[in-house]
Subunit: 231 residues, 2 copies
């Protein structure tokens, strides 16, 4: 039986708490970060609060093994004086949407080998995909996630805006969006690249630019150039 | 029974030919664009060649009703002197990958109402999703598709590059990529937007920029600005 204490009550903390509740061999408690006096020691204490609050919360904890769940916060920046680790799940969590933990990549790190093995066991109690990712790698992974998630979503928004302005239902683009994310499961993004930029089809590029607003034009030009530079 | 003649032997022409072969009530022939002397009249003649060749091919055809399959070519630019239309499928077609036509949006246009009804019947013989899209809308739709397909794929490539440089398997990003495209089926992209840009988290943005190469930095800055401008 692994005992787990989760600090925080945001989306990550709550989804994680509910998942551990259902896991065999895990005993879990959840504590509000403003009521740290209520916390008891556990095999793993998980700080699942906003990045800005991790330092402060970790400084107040004397539990034996403390981990955080952030993609952009280094292991060494935890302020507890006991053992440290990271339990980062690379997925977006929405309040009302159920999380399929079997598909979530768990990116784990710990200063001590035994602690790492414990985190691995814990991750496998609710999930399947476990990766050993150090703090340097995790920082890079976090910025890569911004490109493929936040920035991609913004390109969807531009697509949505163009559709709306022209009385076209946005749903018409959904099959293409699905196919784009599906395709890279079997082809590298480099090999999957199509369109006027990679073909250097200057006529189409010129015609497209005429149809766009200023900010959209800037993005169109910059990404076209980046595709053509091959990076 | 609708008779169809397809001109061309690229991906679109071949996938379409194979689909019509299996359709009830459709009789289909396929003709190489360099052997137009072999073409016989049909209820619908579909020019499925590269954009650059549509003018030339259409000028040589005397068939009764001629349509093209291009997203960026206007109906009026067809050079046949008979009836004109457009049979545009909004999806990427790869040579070796089977196409699920029931998910493909068919964007149809015709100068004459009866011709439009014929195209609709033809589209429904192999597919399900039919939209009436005029040439002006189709041009806009084509540029929107560049954003959500070509440009999104390039963001995947940047994610892939960052992973490779740091010995991280790219597959680790796939669940996030899937969730990003899935999320907008129930939320508008505007509501689905998360991340440091929309939160105006200056510290994280600054840290991210330090980790990127020059071209990646430019894209990061521009899209962050665009997210913050709300367009």
């Amino acid at each position: 039986m692994i005992s787990v204490a989760i600090i925080g009550n945001g989306n990550v903390a709550t989804h994680l708490y509910n998942a551990f509740l259902k896991a065999e061999d895990v005993k879990v408690t959840q504590v509000n970060s403003r009521k740290l006096e209520n916390i008891q020691d556990a095999d793993v204490t998980i700080i699942a609060v906003s990045d800005d609050a991790i330092s402060e919360v970790s400084a107040k904890i004397t539990n034996a093994f403390v981990v955080h769940t952030s993609g952009s916060f280094a292991l060494e920046d935890l302020k507890n004086t006991t053992n440290k680790g990271v339990f980062y799940m690379l997925q977006t969590f929405s309040k009302d949407k159920k999380v399929n933990f079997s598909k979530v990549p768990f990116c784990l790190e710990a200063s001590k080998k035994n602690d790492y093995l414990l985190l691995e066991k814990l991750a496998k109690s609710i999930g399947k995909k476990v990766y050993n990712i150090n703090s340097e790698q995790r920082k890079k992974l976090h910025v890569a996630a911004v490109f493929v998630n936040n920035f991609t979503n913004h390109l969807y928004q531009i697509g949505n805006d163009i559709c709306q302005e022209n009385d076209i239902p946005f749903e018409i683009l959904q099959p293409l969006i699905d196919e784009t994310s599906e395709k890279i499961k079997t082809l590298s993004p480099k090999k999957a690249q199509t369109g006027p930029a990679i073909r250097n089809d200057k006529k189409t590029i010129k015609n497209h630019l005429k149809l766009l607003e200023k900010q959209q034009q800037k993005i169109y030009k910059l990404i076209t150039k980046s595709i053509q530079n091959g990076n």
